[in-house]
Assembly symmetry: C2
Homo-oligomer: 650 residues x 2
């Protein structure tokens, strides 16, 4: 049977399940990627599991998110991550090496392999003929420990590319076109696979741009074939031996279809405040801007910076405009320096920042209140820039650079100049030595983890008790998001490597007495919470499950769950139950007590769990959706305990 590229990647890594859309499959993971904002917890999880040595082919810890360092918390985290990579046998990418995705592509990505990353834009590496997916931190920790990654088999969505991009239109406009057509939910449950004759005009880094923002479509992954262009790219990085060809078989089929004629595209822009809010640039041209921002994993290529440099060369940025350049990797910045592009940008008035994620995730470069900011980044959710009342547009480097010169949103085709065609350096700088390689095993075993005062190990967690009698501490309505369960932002994020501290913010937005009330239940059998539909929607942050669990949460009773949060609850040993009769939701009140007996047998023997509601005296029927594997995880009190038990056995 002829396979497409995505099917080949899945088939060659399948350890359980069948390739039938919607069925759970288990995949062997070859490589992992963690960044510092999620990686500290992953390293603490590896410590809690008692891992001796990473079992993947290559796992790299990047430091790209929290690199401003306003106080000791970030640098303490960096040193902790360095010590953890040395202990567990991981690569360490130093602060300043750049954004994880382009650096991983340059140094470690290999066609035909799988990559799991604790960053939603991990899908960018699909540009290399890999199956690359974002996931929660503990899923990545499990992959580092050699466990498969479980996911529902997605549909494969073939997008045929034809034609060639016109002048002033680039890869960013391709993915903006797809967002214009399908909006931010268009890729849910799908892997997007690009193919067709249009591919030959798209460089590996152009494909990175397109694959990266598959995340904004909600896709499970994005896949490109590994063809001659990928061979050229790997050769330029001194890694020709890592190349294999990986293309769809003749006659391969896709579950879904669409086509983009590249020659028909125009410069596009996503208006505030959603990546799916896409219109042609000319529709909003003339709006005054405060900022033009080049960089991020959504436009990380040499050409993305070089084309901006050529556009502003010999000219000056408009007064009052902040023209921010955020290099995506140190080695690429070195080439931009050597080839004169950085001098062109500086002379025009650019502000050059260190290589990293920076303003893309709101770490610096916030725009002025209510003023327009044009960015080549992947997301423009409200407030993500750091400014509460922001107005962020997403566009190509061409559009951003043109607008920096005029001080207003400008269709680059209206500039009075020829389109600068960029030649990538034939022999780009290759910065092998600044990626610290894994230590040899014997040396690694001598390494002590270096924990600054803000870094706390994950406390041990107990097994699931066979009988629970617990109070309901919160009763909530529908659509509670993980942002409400555990907020992000500059006030909370610095504590991401300190579970006891970050737990103080749990449910704070909903009820700021929760923390104190929960703490009282922690040593006394724990507590339950009640919610409505779509409980736990939004961000995948695992702290939203881990922190309440730390405070004694044992069982969640809701009408239904959002998928990722449900998985996170299971992973941390919190029992997720849904009402068999939704009207039972009305029976339960905050402060009531529920009792569950014979719990272990109940979840092992079927899908039903009966709970006793003290106040009404009624027996309520609840359902669980745990697989056999997950039942075992739940009995052990979560994934960390489960892994430890297996290690003890083997």
């Amino acid at each position: 049977m002829p396979y497409n590229v995505a099917q080949k990647l899945i088939q060659s890594h399948l350890v359980s399940g069948r390739m039938i859309p919607g069925e759970e499959i288990g995949l062997k993971i070859d490589q992992t990627l963690t960044q510092d904002a999620t990686g500290t917890m992953v390293m603490l999880e590896l410590e809690a599991m008692g891992l001796d040595r990473a079992k993947t082919e290559a796992s790299c810890q990047y430091v790209d998110h929290n690199i401003i360092q306003e106080d000791s918390k970030n640098p303490d985290d960096h040193l902790f991550l360095l010590s953890a990579t040395r202990r567990f046998g991981l690569y360490f990418s130093r602060p300043g090496n750049g954004v994880s995705h382009p650096v991983h592509m340059q140094r470690l990505a290999k066609p035909g392999k799988t990559l799991l990353g604790s960053d939603s834009h991990t899908c960018a590496i699909g540009c290399m003929g890999m199956l690359a997916m974002g996931a929660g931190g503990i899923d990545v920790a499990m992959a580092i420990a050699g466990e498969p990654f479980y996911v529902k088999m997605p549909k494969i969505w073939g997008i045929k590319l034809t034609g060639k991009l016109p002048d002033w239109v680039s890869a960013k406009d391709v993915i903006l076109e797809l967002l214009r057509r399908y909006d931010v939910k268009g890729g849910v449950g799908k892997i997007i696979e690009y193919y067709g004759p249009g591919l030959k005009h798209l460089s590996a880094m152009d494909r990175h741009v397109i694959a990266n923002m598959g995340a904004e479509l909600g896709a499970t992954g994005t896949v490109f074939p590994s063809d001659g262009e990928i061979k050229r790219f790997l050769k330029s990085q001194g890694r020709e031996d890592d190349w294999i060809e990986l293309v769809a078989d003749e006659g391969a089929e896709y579950d879904l279809h669409d086509e983009i004629d590249l020659s028909s595209l125009v410069p596009l822009i996503a208006k505030p405040s959603s990546p799916g809010n896409v219109v042609p640039v000319e529709e909003v041209a003339g709006e005054p801007i405060y900022q033009a921002y080049i960089g991020s994993s959504a436009n990380p290529g040499y050409r993305d910076f070089a084309v901006a440099a050529e556009i502003v060369k010999g000219k000056k940025v408009a007064s009052g405009v902040s023209f921010d350049i955020n290099p995506s990797s140190r080695q690429m910045l070195t080439d931009l320096v050597k080839n004169g592009h950085i001098a062109s940008l500086l002379s025009a008035g650019a502000r050059l920042h260190q290589a990293g994620c920076n303003g893309c995730i709101g770490m610096g470069q916030a725009p002025a209140t209510g003023r327009n900011s044009l960015r080549t980044t992947p997301r423009n959710f409200p407030g993500r820039s750091g400014t509460r009342e922001d107005s962020v547009f997403l566009c190509s480097p061409e559009t951003a650079a043109a607008s920096a010169l005029t001080g207003k949103i400008t269709d680059p085709r209206t500039l009075d100049m020829d389109y600068p065609r960029i030649n990538e350096p034939k022999e780009p700088t290759v910065d092998v030595e600044l990626l610290d390689p894994p230590l040899p095993l014997e040396e690694a075993r001598k390494v002590q983890l270096e924990k600054g005062p803000n870094i706390a190990s994950i406390p041990e967690m107990d097994e699931l008790p066979d009988e629970l009698e617990v109070p309901i501490l919160l009763k909530m309505g529908d659509n509670i998001s993980t942002d409400e369960i555990l907020a992000g932002g500059a006030r909370v994020l610095p504590y991401r490597s300190n579970l006891p501290k970050i737990s103080q913010f749990a449910f704070e937005i909903i009820d700021d007495t929760y923390y104190e009330r929960a703490m009282k239940t922690k040593e006394q059998g724990g507590h339950a919470i009640v919610g409505g539909f779509n409980y736990g929607q939004g961000s995948s942050r695992e702290h939203a499950a881990l922190a309440p669990r730390y405070l004694g949460l044992r069982v969640v009773l809701v009408k239904d769950f959002a998928r990722i949060h449900w998985q996170n609850l299971v992973n941390f040993g919190v029992l997720p139950l849904t009402f068999a009769n939704e009207s039972d939701y009305d029976l339960l009140n905050q402060g009531d007590t529920i009792k569950i007996t014979n719990l272990k047998a109940q979840i092992q023997n079927g899908r039903e769990v009966t709970i006793h509601h003290k106040e009404s005296g009624k027996q309520l029927k609840m359902n669980h959706a745990l697989s056999e594997r997950q039942v075992d995880i739940m009995l052990k009190g979560g994934l960390i305990n489960w892994v430890k038990a297996r290690q003890k056995k083997s």
Copy 2:
């Protein structure tokens, strides 16, 4: 009578007083410099004064301190400053142009002129044959409005330089040697003037390094002659016409004397946590480091970066060391890029930051807890780096770069290489266009100030009443610092352009009920406070006088005052009184009431003010030290009112 350079500068700008050390003199100010952390309040003061047009020859507003932009407050401030410079006829140096001191030197400094700046390192520009002094914000606002600057005539301290610096020893080691000899109070009440045959080996930027850290000696100013080297420097900046010769007359005398034989110096380092804690580098060699930091106004020259680049060229920074490069100006960064030095630094593993003050004032790049940080910056006070438990050393770029390679404090003379001698670019980049020039008057008058939501105008303040009956809201002990009166730090600093908001932090460290209690007195005649000796020591921040005044503070009764805070109280119309009999301090209690009648006549007619203490029924004798000019300022309710009244008259 033969004059030295400092005397010539003073004499040519003297508008009142005599050049007798200790006597108050008034000086005409030709140029001013403001930076964004102090400048927003200066601009609000100009607005409150009703200024139409700057009366100086050149005034420039720099944006170099708050350029991280974690939220909208900083960029809103930048846009406000841009609008204010356009309104009042100032130069505007865009964010990213670099640190005020080197940029001012490159673009605006002129031998023979005076410069007043709302930044303590303004003294750096003394390297150009100028009299350059730091001062409080409103003093600079007054200078912009054409008023003289009043200061006590300092002693002139001649330091004769002989010989030539050995390899691996540079300008930073010269000023560290002076700090080693005299510590951080050694320059108080003095202008340091360098002369002698050693000068001919020190470039203009080397002299900048030495003049800059005169601030760390507590000096009123540092002066170098304007000689052929200054002519060369100005020519290289395309400003040869701005050069005049300014050297000491034959036979000129100094009040104080010392001599440094440059050839005898060795690499020096200031240990934590004072710039005066200086030892030879070899004494602390071998200590492991977390960070090596190049940049700041204390080592802003092309050579300071280039020599570091040559030292690390072709090598790699030790694993775990953060090697931070902070360019001091955009135009100099452009040359470092063009000449290959930035590529050398990046390839070695440097983190390249935008041009500005950055980590020098704790805005980013904080070191890890308790780990050693080697910096070329001017100050290492505890916690200034952003890390509470920091360990910061001050040294030359040579020492910092050598230590980055080895991962421990390293005397650069022990490196196995020849000393790289740096040639400055013959035709350096000159970035005229990015310094927005003053608008023509008619255009300027049409400009509206652009105030973001966090920027509040300074409210109008009333005149001194002739009778006061007010409660004592605080009774404090000795040595109360301005940090206790109004804290700095990341929590408070963002509100520096919002007086009502920042006032909420007044005296918070001493008594957090002060704000609420003071607010109640605001509309009911105000209040008094009582203190001991050395009241208002430390930082010169004017908010420490302005905020309590805004909350109703009318009179301060203490044993004695620290000089600058006393001046700030006068400037903002708060009456500073000292006890004639110090034992009267014991009579007064928090909550008591004092009454002063016939107040205007009392301060006009002598040095004595009698107050009635209600609780004891006693009449207490107090003294004031106001000059005639200051009495007038006090009667009007402060400098802003005083200027407005004069403008109305003229």
